[in-house]
């Protein structure tokens, strides 16, 4: 099947006062239509940068230095600004963590959803209003007529995230990127939000990229998992395969550090070391090498680290597989 989104050898750098951060290094990842894929990694691993690069909302300091992002075969990076604006919201959309801050504090939430609907359609004012109420009902907001007139500060975090989802789904995008959508929400709200995202996506055939540092959350909700470390995708595989037999040493370490997957608390293990400083000019081809228990001299040999197949739909970027 042709992928919906195909990120190929994407490199992104950030210019900072303290040097250039090599945030993404030749990152490749495919997302199939309608699938739910979890993109997992610790803070600074490049999950959000990947999402922002796909959406075209990287901040000023960021520079895309190579690669392509194909959406249904078309390279988004070569799209004109107007075409890209039109693609956002319809091709792909994104929901953010910290849902209240992600909404305009001084605009009624219904108007904010209406702005998105109006941007991508030529509906009449009445039709837009009806569509807004329909979207609010879809994300199960009680009393939508009244809530449409509310401001973000009058709504709970969970309700704000439902508004965010309604906005993101307003124009039936093919891909929904959920960037830590449940961080900062309480546990029951988290579950409800995840269920809602899955349900809406399944119904519309929308693919979902769930970006999270929560392995258990991703494992419980996703068809496939992509593990990121220091700007690389180190392993991609169907969820069951990766949980049963993680091939990359980082993935294995990550799974041993998750309470619900490790069995008892005594078995929990931390991954030694920390991510390398991405401003270093001499980053090794494998950015996990310096923390890796299986490091060999050939791990440090020059040349890019490729993702290679090691099972059905199972890709891993490691030169010394167990």
């Amino acid at each position: 099947m042709t992928p919906l989104l195909s990120i190929r050898a994407l490199s992104v750098e950030f210019d900072t006062r303290h040097g250039t951060v090599h945030a993404l290094d030749r990152l490749s990842l495919d997302i199939a239509p309608g699938e739910i894929i979890g993109i997992i990694g610790e803070s600074g691993s490049g999950k959000s940068v990947t999402a922002h690069a796909v959406m075209g909302i990287l901040d000023r300091a960021a520079r895309i230095t190579g690669g392509e992002v194909l959406f249904q075969g078309e390279n988004l990076l070569e799209m004109g600004r107007r075409a890209r604006d039109g693609w956002r919201g319809r091709g792909a959309s994104i929901i953010f963590q910290n849902p209240r801050a992600a909404l305009n504090p001084i605009r009624a939430v219904g108007d904010q959803i209406a702005d998105v609907v109006a941007r991508h359609s030529s509906l009449s004012r009445r039709a837009i209003r009806a569509r807004v109420l329909e979207l609010l009902r879809h994300v199960r907001i009680p009393d939508p007529e009244r809530r449409a007139r509310a401001y973000p500060f009058q709504l709970s975090g969970g309700l704000c995230q439902r508004i965010g989802i309604a906005m993101a789904l307003a124009c039936a995008p093919r891909l929904l990127i959920a960037d830590e959508p449940t961080t900062g929400l309480d546990v029951t709200t988290q579950a409800a939000i995840m269920a809602l995202i899955r349900e809406r996506a399944r119904e519309a055939g929308t693919a979902v990229a769930l970006i999270t540092h929560d392995v258990a959350l991703a494992a419980g909700n996703c068809d496939r998992l992509a593990i990121m470390h220091a700007g690389h995708v180190v392993e991609v595989a169907p969820t069951a395969a990766i949980l049963a037999r993680p091939r990359h040493p980082y993935t294995a370490g990550l799974l041993r550090s998750v309470p619900s997957l490790a069995g008892s608390l005594d078995q929990l293990q931390a991954i030694p070391g920390s991510m390398p400083d991405l401003r270093r000019p001499d980053l090794p081809p494998c950015r996990f090498a310096e923390r890796c228990p299986r490091r060999l001299p050939r791990c440090d040999a020059p040349g890019p680290l490729a993702l290679t197949a090691c099972g059905p739909g199972h890709l891993v970027a490691c030169r010394n597989l167990p």
Binding site: M55, I57, D59, D85, G86, W87, R88, G89, R90, S93, I94, F96, N98, A101, A102, L103, N104, P105, I106, R107, D115, V116, R119, H120, Y151, F153, G164, M167, A168, A170
Partner: protein
């Protein structure tokens, strides 16, 4: 709306405090107005005492204060020792002159500064941004009397394109029938095009002088607030939803950025009322600022108290307007 009502009520004790303080402050100013007023070599000590009694200055302080309060309640601001005119009448004549000048200057400053700040924020570090910074720095660092004199030198003395800085209107023209007290508006109402033009030309230089001074804080605040707003999460959401750039900048970012800008506008406006004193001097503007300076020099209590009181009232009113506008922009402020 109750918030606005409460805010209006809270202005009353502030105003009373101002009355007390100005009363006391003017009484501790050095010099004896009776001596000053009676400064005639032929006057004897008994003549001076008579003047003092006439002015009520021989009575105890609290008595003077009560008399002052009673007069205030009747709209009587006292009588100027120097001119012999009732202070209230003097203000009624002069306040519109100052108000016309300050309002035009404020309008000019806002109309120029907000777009400048906006453009600077959209391209930080660009040529426009640096130009705005330069203009703003020049605007604040030059005292108004210097920039005023400079403008007079260039536009009146050298280029000769603007009229002599001698007040509100060419002395050979008649003032239009008084409706608002603003010469430009009154001239328009009575349909006197020539008078309107003359009055506007007279207004231009002093207004620009004051506007230059107000430009800096407004432009800088607009820039800073816009940069903060453009960097916030909800702008990222709007961009990710594909909203057009114009809508994002004007509806999403600018409206949020206006909150601190409106507060700054209030401060700048109040500040401009103070700056008026110097600008009015330079341009021989018959406003309240020039009147206040004369009163200080002449130890003329009544107009001075009146001036401070009127200024305080305007200041309180400006703050009130800022609060109301803030509530209108920001739904969060209402609670």
């Amino acid at each position: 709306m109750t918030r606005i009502g409460l805010r209006v009520l809270s202005a009353i004790p502030t105003l009373f405090g101002v009355v007390v303080i100005t009363f006391l402050l003017t009484r501790v100013l050095p010099g004896d107005p009776a001596v000053f007023f009676a400064s005639n070599p032929s006057m004897s000590a008994s003549d001076i005492a008579a003047v003092r009694e006439n002015l009520g200055l021989d009575r105890p302080l609290y008595d003077q204060f009560l008399i002052y309060l009673g007069n205030l309640a009747q709209g009587n601001l006292g009588r100027s020792i120097a001119t012999g005119q009732p202070v209230a009448a003097e203000f009624a004549r002069r306040l519109p002159a100052s108000a016309e000048l300050t309002l035009l200057a404020f309008l000019l400053a806002v109309v120029v500064a907000v777009p400048l700040g906006l453009v600077a924020a959209l391209r930080p570090g660009s040529l426009v941004d640096h130009a705005v910074r330069l203009i703003a720095t020049l605007g604040v660092s030059m005292p108004t009397f210097v920039s005023g004199l400079l403008l007079i030198h260039v536009f009146y003395f050298r280029a000769g394109v603007l009229p002599e800085p001698i007040g509100r209107l060419d002395p050979f023209l008649f003032e239009p029938a008084r409706v608002t007290g603003f010469l430009t508006i009154d001239a328009l109402i009575s349909g006197e095009g020539q008078v309107f033009r003359a009055a506007l030309l007279q207004l231009l230089l002093p207004a620009v002088t004051m506007a230059l001074f107000a430009l800096a804080p407004l432009a800088r605040m607009t820039r800073a607030a816009m940069i903060a707003a453009l960097g916030s999460d909800f702008i990222r959401t709007a961009r990710a939803a594909g909203l057009s750039r114009g809508r994002i900048v004007l509806i999403y970012a600018l409206r949020n950025a206006m909150l601190p800008v409106v507060t700054t506008m209030g401060m700048v406006f109040s500040y401009m009322l103070g700056a008026n004193v110097l600008v009015e001097r330079v341009f021989s503007w018959p406003g309240i600022g020039a009147f206040a300076i004369d009163s200080i020099v002449n130890l003329d209590y009544a107009p001075l108290q009146g001036f401070v009181l009127v200024m305080a009232a305007i200041f309180i009113a400006v703050n009130l307007v800022v609060d109301i506008v803030t509530v209108l922009i920001d739904p969060r402020a209402e609670d």
